[in-house]
Amino acid sequence: MNDVFLSVNNISKRFGAVQALDSVDLSVKKGEILCLVGENGSGKSTLIKIIAGVVEPDSGEIIIEGKSYKKLSAFESMKSGIQVIYQDLSLFPNLTVAENISLNQRIEKGEKFVNWRGVKEIAERELKSIGKPINPDALVEELSVADKQVVAICRALTFGAKLIIMDEPTTALTKNEVDTLFSIIGDLKKRDISVIFVSHKLSEIFKISEKVTVLRDGKKVGDFTSSELDNEKLIFYMTGKKIVNTPFECKIEKEKLLPLLEVRNLSKKRNFIDINFKLYGGEILGITGLLGSGRSELAIAIFGLNSPDTGEIFIEGKPVKIGSAWQAIDLGICYLSEDRLGKGLFIEKEIGENLEVAILKDFISKSGLIRKKMIKKKIEELSKELNIKTPSLDFTVASLSGGNQQKVVVAKWIAANPKIFILDGPTVGIDVGSKSDIHQIIRGLAEKGIGIIIISDEIPEIMQNTNRILIMQRGRIVKELQTNCTNEDELNRVITMAKAEEDAKI
């Protein structure tokens, strides 16, 4: 048992009426990669905060390298070699890479003056040890998310970290960047540094972890080795429900129908080139490709927010010009943005009010007044239909979990009665349970005859929930696949090949 770095025994924590953690155990060996998984509200973040010394447990003990603590201060936690990298990375965008790496440590040590040569040396040494040639003089705001993450890891290493906890580190990364991150984590392991990795993405969990600890509703479900788990089991442990993933079947015989949406030769300089596709009612069309492939730019072009240079758009066979989001909505097109917090919600307002704005214009009486009661009824129906988990619609959207926030956004758009619904990254950063709810909602809409486009990085999501897939690369559609005639491997291969061809040209 000597090689256990951290063990947490019987930890409980109550916040008011909520039992956030109920006698939870967790242990990490030196150099072990542990995945901590659970739905939102399962107690993951509370547990991390307790390990970081930010939250004090009600009972239980924390043992770090044999030393037992009843309560742990943030300082003791750091001193013992525990470093947490939060999802937002907590970097200073306006400072250089080198300074970001060493500033916190200098503050911690109470050094009053800056030795710029030393700052750069430390940074160069850490960057070298991790094998990433990032310019130490570059400003952090100029880096990609992946590089920023490397800086955050280097900063943790300067503190002599023995355990690095990463909170959902892959949310904003492309597939290649995730691979790089994993290879860095692999190197940390070789240096006997333990990693606790918090993630929602099932495929990553299997790829990276040796041990998986699952939490549900504040209780520990169990420790598993990744070999004894598969997708289905893991989801069952996390949610307590069996979530059946049957592939989507499109029930429309499209030969008989006019396409709901047709795009011909659509181009916009530096965004997308010569885009042609059709979307039929009842279909779910997947668009995938690496970040920067122009897929989101295309989506907002159809939604009227990014006017194309050339090309035509037809709705039910009629040519249309879409110059604004208003026109798009009038034509029955809805667009769910990638950035739900920034663009899809009034985050500090009540859930009810968020839903209200979307349907307001249908509930105005002849005298120009708002029919409050009818609106209230309608939004209650909506929230029930979508299974939004909240004690009351008077709570702010900010109080909801990511999955439920997304349901509010979807509810808003459904209220607008779309014919065509474009969803950009509909389940980014959302836990499995809500994810499957959202997929069910989307399929339900398709069954009603709505034409749906899902834009996503996640190959399994695309495979499960579409009937046709377009792959984009550098602004072009490079391939179209029928979902039932392909598989995840082929899809991955097409995406990587398209990228390789591009790289060869450069």
């Binding site: 503050i107 100029e142 990609s144 492309t174």
Partner: protein, 335 residues
């Protein structure tokens, strides 16, 4: 070389050179050493105020109370010399700086302890500080000291060297230029070479991260507002001595000139960005514009319009550059 041109200072410097050339072609007097030395004497106090304002911006805050702090510092500094009869400039300077420091500490209490937004706090204290001084002075029915003691006047006239040229022209380097340079250099050293200075900049970049990393935020905020208050008190006294006339109603209302200078120098209203060199250049450009408009007999209302325009344009340029930078990052993701 590429990096040099990305820096805002180069553009401001370029603007300054162009302005100097244009103005000299209209008025030959402009590009003379005498005029330069005159400007230095008359506008060093603005430079010091600008450096103070810059530090607050860098930390992610905003302080609009500095003119009131300067006026209160100036008035009480001179009044102390008058009332005590101790005709010593050091006493006046010490009182002015101390008053500034105390008023700055009051700002810091609201901002750091009560967590009131900096703009709201300092808008309030701007009026409160000047109002407090005026209500104190109301008792004496006098809001000006039109005849300050000799030590004050001497301070305004003090020179480092004085050269009489054969053609009868006199060249004098005022001590003000030296004070301005000293303030700029000391502040630069604090910002560049001390952990305190680096945390000021870091806080302006990401306050939340600073909090998580355990920065002493309250202490840093006290330092910022006290230091800035002290600089304002000093600048106020310099102005009073230069004018040989101390007026409690002066200066307040001219905040925008200083703000324009700092923003033009490349400091971001959103915090975390800018430099001392940029601030000094910004003040130089604003001074050149203001004085040359006077030389060209252009009405002062027009000057106001120009100052306003400078703020809007420079803020827009900074915002645009930020946008371009973000776009570049996105392109990098593709590769």
């Amino acid at each position: 070389m590429k990096k040099v041109f990305r820096q805002n200072e180069i553009y401001v410097f370029f603007i300054m050179v162009v302005l100097a050339i244009v103005i000299t072609s209209i008025n030959r007097y402009f590009f003379t050493l005498e005029n330069f030395l005159d400007l230095l004497r008359g506008h060093s106090f603005e430079g010091i105020l600008a450096i103070g304002f810059f530090i607050v911006l860098l930390s992610g805050g905003i302080d609009v109370s500095f003119t009131a702090v300067a006026v209160v510092g100036m008035y009480l500094g001179v009044l102390t010399v008058v009332k005590t009869g101790i005709n010593n400039i050091w006493l006046a300077i010490a009182v002015a700086c101390l008053v500034g420091l105390i008023l700055g500490a009051i700002n810091a209490v609201f901002i750091g302890v009560f967590k009131i937004p900096t703009l709201i706090t300092t808008l309030g204290t701007l009026t409160a500080f000047q109002g407090g001084l005026l209500s104190y002075l109301q008792a004496t029915r006098q809001t000006v000291i039109s005849n300050p003691p000799q030590s004050i006047i001497n301070f305004g006239k003090a020179v480092l060297f004085r050269i009489e040229r054969p053609d009868g022209k006199i060249l004098e380097l005022s001590i003000y230029g030296l004070i301005f340079a000293a303030v700029a250099i000391v502040t630069w050293i604090i910002l560049k070479y001390t952990t305190l200075g680096r945390s000021i900049k870091a806080m302006g970049g990401n306050m939340e991260a600073a909090r998580r990393a355990g920065f002493n935020i309250l202490g840093t905020q006290f330092f910022i507002y006290c230091y800035v208050g002290m600089l304002a008190g000093l600048a106020g006294l310099m102005l009073g001595s230069y004018l040989r006339y101390v007026d409690a109603l002066y200066l307040v209302g001219n905040e925008l000139t200083i703000i324009a200078a700092v923003v033009l120098g490349g400091a971001s209203i959103m915090g975390g960005r800018g430099s001392i060199i940029g601030t000094v250049l910004g003040v130089s450009v604003i001074t050149i514009i203001n004085t040359s408009l006077v030389l060209m007999k252009i009405p002062s209302y027009f000057q106001q319009a120009v100052i306003g325009m400078i703020i809007v344009v420079s803020v827009s340029i900074t915002a645009y550059r930020q946008k371009v930078r973000e776009r570049q990052v996105r392109v990098l993701d593709v590769d």
